[in-house]
């Protein structure tokens, strides 16, 4: 992966953008941690039925994890749980170097080559795994 790809302007801008980096009124929250560096991420969800009305994050981490988390918020906001889980699923596949649906992944495709960097995959996918776990839990509770 070339420097310009990983640390291009778009990604740095996402990392610095604080639009989603705040506390919101929420009814669900999820905590994620990267054991290799101690980075932590806190996601807050405001769910209305199965719609993600609002979403935000706090915590500390590298550019990759901050940018990835900001883009997660952007991608999931307004979606229902099922389509959110679908997006998450495709993004995680991409991060593992598996085949994925480009349309679903959308602009996150710029992280396609992250799969070649085993250490950075963790940074990138931390918030996605965290969100996946929480939304799956909510979904299962609703169904039961």
């Amino acid at each position: 992966m070339k420097l310009e790809d990983l640390y291009g302007d778009v990604i740095i801008d996402y990392a610095k953008n604080t639009k989603f980096k705040k506390h919101i009124e929420h009814n669900h929250e999820a905590h994620g941690k990267n054991t290799s560096c101690g980075d932590e991420i806190e996601l807050e969800f405001n769910l209305n039925g199965d719609i993600i009305k609002d979403i935000s994050y706090t915590g500390h981490g590298c550019i990759i994890s901050q940018a990835s988390t900001a883009m997660l918020c952007e991608a999931l906001k307004g979606k229902n749980i099922n389509s959110a889980l679908n997006i998450i699923n495709e993004v995680i596949k991409m991060s593992r170097g598996e085949t994925f649906d480009k349309k679903t992944v959308d602009s996150l495709e710029m992280f396609e080559d992250i799969s070649t960097l085993p250490m950075r995959v963790k940074c990138f996918s931390l918030s996605w795994h965290t969100a996946e776990e929480k939304l799956t839990e909510v979904k299962e509770n609703d169904e039961s």
Binding site: K33, T35, S36, G38, T116, L117, P118, M119, R120
Partner: protein
């Protein structure tokens, strides 16, 4: 060139030494591609794993995790989370025995059942951790060196929480009917935990952990064409998650404070310290070699050699042979020359014809005790051995008789 000669050409050590290597159960010879993997690894990728983001570390991490995947597939594990790397079967069995016995999965009125046919690694570990942590360990005693699965099953009851047994004894080569034991045990106690010593089994039999519903199986890389210092513990995910870690150090940690420590997810919870990446790269090459050569072919060839050796040695009336002495025996033939000490037999075979067998108790004293002997001679085969080599052994045994008469 015969197929067997082709096999032999893959093992450079056979060119350089005028040796008949019948000590395969101790450690196998290594094919060229496994030996060469060290140079490849250290001269190109040398690095610690999981910890740095530089190129060598990224390459090393991929190599290490690909090796885990390769091994998971080899035994048909569901996930790489179930493959824990150790330095050998001994460490794998210490890990699982101490962790199980220390966990709350075994209560104080429950017990572990193992057998007197075991290698010390699967016997002394249960016995000693049982003593240290106050849990009960019972033993099935074999009858004249034979593992009778029915008698073993009779000892299992609702209080038996773990059964630990070998799939192929390293003394006589008897193959255990794993399927029968596991089915019967689960009928008695659905949640019984099955721990298998696969050190001699995995190198020679298609191992399918899901087909047999095995909970844990331990094996050694160096006994299946791989490097020394490599071993594996397979463990079922849902049990591994409930177990306490074995060793403490880096990487297996989630968070550390002076008050307490929380641990990483599996399999990393059970792996700590800088791993032998080069070694596991080599083990992965060994698996590739076995897959390409054909594990079925290896199995069949070793079966042929074992039967050939058994039939020949059976004709020597001055030998005591141990085990079932039929098709249930695989890769190993053990015996004593009447009135001659096993150490003298093995020394003589080495000095007279360059034949390498092993003599001693093969880390299985309880087994030998049940047989009423202290030690024995063991010839163990692999697919690069030949009938001619077995003929040489046969002739050398006749020579021994004459020499010491």
């Amino acid at each position: 060139m015969s197929l067997f000669q082709k096999y032999r050409n893959d093992f450079p050590i056979l060119d350089k030494n005028n040796i008949i290597y019948f000590d395969n159960a101790a450690t196998t010879l290594k094919p060229k591609r496994v030996v060469d993997s060290f140079e490849k690894y250290y001269n190109n990728f040398n690095s610690n794993v999981h910890r740095s983001s530089h190129k060598l570390s990224a390459e090393s991490t991929k190599i290490y995790e690909n090796s885990r995947k390769n091994i998971a597939d080899f035994i048909n594990a569901e996930s790489t989370d179930e493959i824990i790397f150790t330095k050998g079967t001994t460490e794998a069995l210490n890990l699982i025995s101490s962790s199980l016995i220390r966990s709350d999965l075994i209560s104080e009125d429950e017990s572990v059942l193992t057998t007197t046919l075991e290698h010390h690694a699967n016997f002394v570990s249960w016995q000693q951790y049982g003593k240290i942590f106050g849990k009960n360990v019972h033993y099935y005693k074999n009858n004249n060196g034979i593992f009778n699965e029915d008698d073993f099953i009779k000892l299992i009851d609702k209080k038996t929480k773990v059964i630990a047994f070998t799939a192929l004894t390293n003394v006589t080569g008897q193959v255990t009917d794993i399927g029968k034991i596991i089915n019967s045990a689960r009928n008695i106690n659905k949640n019984i935990i099955i721990v298998i010593d696969g050190a001699q089994y995995v190198p020679h039999f298609k191992t399918d952990v899901r087909k047999y519903d095995i909970d844990f199986i331990a094996f050694s890389g160096h006994k299946m064409l791989g490097p020394m210092g490599t071993g594996v513990l397979y463990g079922k995910k849902n049990i591994l998650k409930k177990l306490p870690p074995y060793m403490f150090g880096g990487e297996m940690i989630d968070s550390v404070t002076t008050e307490d420590t929380t641990f990483n997810i599996i399999p990393f919870k059970f792996e700590t310290g800088t791993p032998d990446v080069a070694g596991f790269y080599g083990l992965s090459e060994a698996i590739n070699y076995m897959n390409e050569t054909g594990t079925d072919k290896i199995h069949e060839r070793v079966k042929e050699l074992t039967m050939y050796a058994l039939e020949k040695l059976k004709t020597l009336d001055f030998l005591d042979l141990y085990g079932t002495l039929d098709e249930n025996q695989h890769s190993i033939v053990s015996f004593n020359v009447k009135d001659i000490h096993p150490h003298d037999v093995s020394q003589f075979l080495n000095d007279s014809d360059g034949i390498a067998i092993r003599s001693g108790h093969h880390c299985a004293q309880p087994f030998h005790k049940e047989l009423g002997i202290y030690s024995s001679c063991r010839a163990s085969f692999n697919f690069y051995n030949t009938e001619e080599e077995i003929d040489t052994l046969y002739d050398a045994l006749l020579k021994i008789r004459r020499w010491f008469k």
